[in-house]
């Protein structure tokens, strides 16, 4: 079939062109690879930085929230409890921070060459997944140290990883498109991430929230995801209702993130 492409003004919502995205999969790989390479160029400890952030957070939180403020931790040692929450949270917060600025930072590409713009924020998730993997090594060491047994629940991790990526990309896409139009979001982001952490069960367990308010908490997709990560890793029972609500919200955010991004991307080259 002869190749034919028609360019005309686009209005309303456009469908996701999966065929085209697939054709550009190598570019996604190369941009993710660029992000990895660039991030640790000319740093002394390189990829070890991926460990430093959650690890230092874990120590500080363990001292102040665990040992001093005596925040409950579902009967688990506080350090491993908080680290299990910090793993998905660090991924999520880094993705939305980096993705949020990604399109503006790649302005040169946007104005000079065509490719599906979704690739730019998406490529951020690649680096962060790698960092997640590196930070996970510490977690394994902590499991050995605290003698936490592995359970069959660990099998839920791939599914949770997928949810985590979907939630982070959904928010990241919306923020990256908004940042192009309104640079205010550059300043909103750090502040937003900070608040978001406190409303997510990173330093405290979901169980301290009264049952009747839990669905409200679960509207924050990271609430269900972080809680479920802890269940999968530490063997405590899953809170299925909370996870279900969070998962649905994550999917809704992801789909609307793509739709919103695709609507705004048409004007990127003109206003960036």
């Amino acid at each position: 079939m002869p190749y034919e492409l028609i360019l005309r003004p686009r209005k309303g919502l456009s469908a996701l062109n999966l065929k085209e995205l697939f054709a550009y999969r190598e570019l996604l790989y190369f941009l993710a690879w660029r992000n990895v390479k660039v991030r640790y160029k000319q740093t002394a400890i390189g990829a070890a930085w991926a460990i430093v952030q959650p690890f230092m957070n874990m120590i500080v939180f363990s001292i102040f929230f665990g040992a001093l403020a005596k925040v409950p931790s579902d009967g688990l040692p506080y350090p491993i409890f908080v680290y299990a929450g910090l793993l998905p949270w660090t991924f999520f917060s880094n993705v939305i921070r980096m993705a949020g600025n990604s399109v503006v930072e790649d302005e040169k590409l946007i104005t000079k060459v065509y490719f599906p713009r979704l690739i730019i924020p998406s490529s951020v998730a690649g680096v962060e997944l790698l960092d997640f993997g590196v930070a996970f090594i510490i977690y394994v060491l902590m499991m050995l140290y605290y003698h936490i047994p592995l359970t069959a629940q660990i099998l839920a991790v791939p599914f949770l990883l997928l949810l985590m990526v979907i939630a982070a990309l959904g928010v990241g896409l919306i923020l990256s498109a908004l940042t192009v139009v309104y640079r205010d979001f550059r300043y909103v982001l750090p502040f937003m991430i900070q608040l978001w952490m406190y409303v997510s069960p990173v330093i405290y367990p979901v169980s301290i929230i009264p049952e009747k308010w839990r669905f409200l908490v679960a509207l924050n997709p990271m609430a269900g995801i972080i809680d479920a990560f802890r269940s999968a890793l530490l063997g405590k029972p899953f809170d299925i209702p909370t996870l279900s609500v969070s998962a649905i919200v994550a999917v809704v955010i992801f789909v609307s993130g793509i739709a919103y991004f695709q609507k705004l991307e048409r004007t990127f080259a003109d206003i960036i």
Partner: protein, 418 residues
């Protein structure tokens, strides 16, 4: 035999920019809210619209090499941006029957921290090559760019020549059905430029469909059989290159606005602005045609912005041929004749040339004013601010007109010896 379908069909294509938005570059939430509050009924857009392209129609046949010419701001680049899918049209449509790659700048996708090797892969993939394709062409790209020894060095350590060579080399090895090229050829040293043009020539002759946008008219005349002339967002002529180019030269000559005050396409801080520029003979009459060998003055007047205290003004005039080759760069700074002290509200600056060394042809010049604000602040820079024509004259005082074949003439002496 049926004629093949055109590979590109452009039908009633238009592009609108909202000037307000463009000038601000980006908006803040506050702007949007304030706007909505002060004009609650006004829809976005409105009277500030600027049509960069208006009802453009043309078709390109497979294998055709097309040139697009026009003055700065005529809409050439916008057209190329729509064809390469960077921006959406506002009206009309384009049908493309082949895969497109576009070269709108040198070094698209380059990252300064990465090595030459890494950047070949990155830029290649951004421009639309697959990994396998890059693997296959890698050695060729490196050899063409002549950077074998520096392959592992981050490109931020490259000289600008090396950088340009590498960038061009990656781009030159693209293999699409339709190639769109914007003014990217004037790179590197002369030898490399020749090599680039040779490569472009073979690309153009290799049966590929190519669209070139360029100010290098001579180059376009060589490569393209057909040219489009774009002016104020419309196609004013579509025909054989030589004809279109000579009409374009006339257009540039006639349209030269002597009043610079209204020019919008200027750069710089704007605390000093040129208001007018012209050429003068020794009696102070304004002239447009001058004779080679005769004295002439290039004059410009300027104003300082109300309230701005500007000190130490440096002015320069860069004269180039209609093909964009700079032949002279006359600056007050090279002969230590800058204006020292506080610049007055209105002023005039003239550059006296005792003998015109240009031989014959059409010339345009840019005017540039810099101040000493923080070292070297560009205050006003207007490209193609003025034009003039030089006619061959009795330069050597022999009673004969000097030959017209050369661009410049100069005093010289001969001596034979055994």
């Amino acid at each position: 035999m049926t004629t093949p379908l055109p590979i590109i069909e452009v039908q009633h294509l238009s592009k609108k920019y909202s000037l307000g938005k463009k000038r601000e570059m980006y908006r803040t939430f506050r702007d949007t809210i304030m706007e909505r509050m002060s004009h609650p009924l006004k829809k976005e857009g409105g009277t500030n619209d600027f049509w960069a392209l208006k009802d453009i129609n043309f078709t390109v046949q497979p294998g055709e090499v097309l040139g697009i010419i026009g003055k700065n701001g005529a809409g050439k680049s916008t057209l190329l941006k729509i064809l390469s899918r960077i921006t959406d049209p506002s009206g009309g449509q384009v049908i493309m029957r082949g895969r497109v790659a576009s070269l709108l700048e040198v070094g698209t996708g380059f990252h300064p921290e990465l090595s030459g090797r890494e950047n070949i892969y990155l830029s290649g993939s951004v421009l639309g090559m697959g990994k396998e394709e890059i693997d296959k062409k890698f050695d060729e790209i490196v050899a063409f760019a002549e950077i074998e020894k520096f392959l592992e060095l981050p490109i931020k350590r490259y000289s600008s020549g090396m950088y340009m060579r590498l960038a061009f080399s990656v781009a030159a090895h693209l293999d699409p059905e339709i190639l769109l090229v914007d003014e990217v050829l004037a790179v590197g040293d002369i030898a490399f430029q020749k090599k680039c043009l040779g490569k472009m020539d073979s690309v153009a002759k290799g049966g590929r469909t190519v669209i070139f946008v360029s100010h290098q008219l001579e180059f376009l005349a060589q490569l393209c059989k057909r040219c489009l002339l774009v002016d104020k967002g419309e196609i004013v002529e579509d025909g054989p290159s030589r004809e279109v180019i000579s009409h374009y030269i006339q257009l540039v000559r006639n349209a030269a606005p002597t009043s610079l005050r209204e020019r919008k396409d200027r750069q710089g801080e704007g605390r000093v602005r040129f208001t007018e520029t012209w050429l003068e003979d020794t009696q102070g009459n304004r002239v447009h045609r001058i004779v080679s060998g005769e004295p002439v003055k290039i004059v410009a007047t300027y104003e300082t912005q109300a309230g701005a205290e500007v000190t130490n003004l440096a002015v320069s005039f860069a004269v180039m041929t209609i093909h964009g080759i700079v032949v002279l760069d006359l600056g007050t700074d090279t002969s230590a004749s800058d204006y020292f002290g506080v610049v007055p509200a209105r002023g005039r600056v003239e550059c006296s040339i005792p003998r015109m060394h240009l031989n014959s042809g059409e010339f345009v010049y840019n005017v540039l004013a810099r101040s000493a604000k923080s070292g070297n602040e560009v205050e006003d820079w207007v490209k193609q601010a003025g034009t003039f024509t030089v006619e061959p004259g009795d330069y050597y005082g022999t009673g004969h007109i000097a030959g017209t074949a050369s661009l410049v003439v100069m005093d010289h002496h001969w001596k034979f010896s055994d």
